[in-house]
């Protein structure tokens, strides 16, 4: 009878250093890399040649990002209006629709309870134009001359770890319409840009389009507290990147409600 197991007299010996060399926590945070130890080691071999170029470019992007960031902080609001459109356009139309549908459904639920309540509608847009990795020429050039491999410029955009839908839901449930603004019936959008650090933390939220102090503060609060992101990755190396979300404040009036 053929044994289904293979018996060994001794366990395989493996040194602590070897075990440590297999450890790669960051790879776990990337959904694009379905975690393969063998792949990782092959990847390491590959990288050796392109490592210097990659490192420098990552550093350059990082610096550029820093620079960009301080820039945007200083820019007054007029310049800020401009990036709104590319931002909005970058959302796939269907996604926007679906999140809008969700919103209306929830709206109904709220109204069913018979309470006039402020409604917050959010759509999520990832600002491609603001992503740091978006300027690859500096990187692509030295590398295509040195080693012309297309895989060298594999770019994965930052995305919310919980998924776009959950993030939309997060905003829907967390954003509070500032009651102080209720009497003025202000409605509109606050666009908040933020930085996604290499470890996925969301930092430096900045209001790109303001709707007044109370709204801005609320928008900044929810953005700062939002769930972690999956950092953008260039060839599996996490990058600092930027994205923005429009946060819509609107008031649902009783008269607007259906099926009361």
């Amino acid at each position: 009878m053929k044994s289904r197991y293979i018996f060994k007299k001794k366990p395989l010996t493996v040194s602590d250093a070897e075990i440590q060399s297999y450890m790669d926590f960051d790879a776990l945070l990337s959904p694009k890399v379905p975690v393969s130890g063998a792949k990782v080691s092959a990847w390491k071999l590959y990288v050796v040649s392109g490592l210097v170029a990659a490192l420098t470019s990552v550093a350059v992007y990082w610096l550029m990002d820093k620079w960009n960031h301080t820039d945007t902080q200083e820019i007054p609001s007029e310049k800020v209006q401009a990036p709104q459109h590319p931002m909005m356009n970058s959302i796939p139309e269907e996604e926007r629709k679906s999140s809008l549908i969700q919103d209306t459904n929830e709206e109904k639920g709220v109204i069913d309870k018979g309470q006039p309540k402020e409604k917050v509608e959010t759509t999520l847009a990832q600002n491609k134009s603001n992503l740091v990795k978006e300027t690859p020429p500096a990187k692509a050039e030295p590398e295509t001359t040195a080693l012309p491999q297309p895989r060298e410029t594999q770019l994965i955009q930052a995305q919310p770890l919980v998924g776009i839908d959950s993030l939309t839901r997060y905003f829907d449930t967390q954003v509070q319409y500032p009651l102080s603004a209720l009497k003025d019936s202000i409605e509109g959008q606050v666009i908040v840009q933020f930085t996604i650090e290499k470890d996925g933390r969301v930092t430096h939220p900045v209001v790109l389009q303001s709707l007044g102090e109370a709204f801005d503060q609320e928008a900044l609060r929810v953005v700062s507290a939002m769930p972690q992101w999956q950092p953008a990755r260039l060839n599996d190396r996490p990058l600092v990147s930027k994205a923005s979300v429009p946060i819509t404040f609107s008031i649902i009036r009783n008269s607007k409600g259906r099926d009361l």
Binding site: M1, S3, R4, Y5, I6, F7, K8, K9, K10, P11, L12, V14, D16, E18, I19, Y22, M23, D24, F25, A27, L28, L29, P34, V35, S36, G37, A38, V40, S41, L161, D199, G200, R201, P227, Q228
Partner: protein
């Protein structure tokens, strides 16, 4: 328990709570337990790279399940072992890779004492034992390994398999009884 202090266990639990919000907070758990999970897997796949692959999968799954982790008094280690067991079972079911069993003298002697099989020749006994083990399905083999190779307590095994301590004990000894029968049968023939 699992060679862990109470402080380790509670700091694991704290890290788990944080990891529910920020997956990167899972890092200390990964770093603290990687080695034991890796070695646990290595004994079964007997290939260093493959063991790393399966271990990565274990932690990947763990990270996915962090949100549903509830502190029921079971250490995070047991929870990780449970995922590792399932991943190993899956791995051998889905791939055609060989399942290895490290049957060293200590393990064999431990089993021999527990089964109270006496006075047989070393070689004969080993062959009979291998045959008995070979007939065990993966889950049952894992139980025997955890108890007699890894030396885990019944309480730990219970926590890992999500069964009671006494149930773990009963299952183990029922298996041993069965193996003893198998060994004696092959001795006769």
């Amino acid at each position: 328990m699992y060679h862990q202090t109470k402080e380790d266990i509670s700091s694991d639990l704290q890290a788990m709570e944080k990891a529910k919000q920020h997956p990167s907070a899972f890092r200390p758990i990964y770093e603290r337990h990687y080695k034991r999970i890796y070695l646990f897997v290595l004994n079964k796949v007997y290939d260093k790279d493959l063991a790393a692959e399966v271990s990565a999968q274990v932690f990947y799954k763990a990270l996915e399940k962090v949100g549903s982790f509830r502190d029921t008094g079971v250490p995070v280690t047991a929870w990780l072992y449970r995922i590792a067991l399932n991943e190993c079972t899956d791995f051998f079911r889905k791939t055609s890779k060989n399942r290895y069993v490290v049957l060293d003298d200590l393990f064999a002697n431990f089993l021999k004492e527990e089964m109270e099989v006496e006075g047989s020749l070393e070689e004969e006994w080993m062959d009979a034992l291998k045959e008995a083990l070979s007939q065990l399905p993966e889950e049952k083999l894992q139980l025997i390994e955890m108890r007699f190779y890894e030396g885990k307590s019944f309480r730990e095994i219970g926590e890992i398999l999500d069964i009671s301590e006494s149930n773990a004990k009963v299952r183990t000894y029922r298996l041993l009884e069965w193996m003893k029968g198998s060994v004696l049968k092959s001795k006769k023939s």
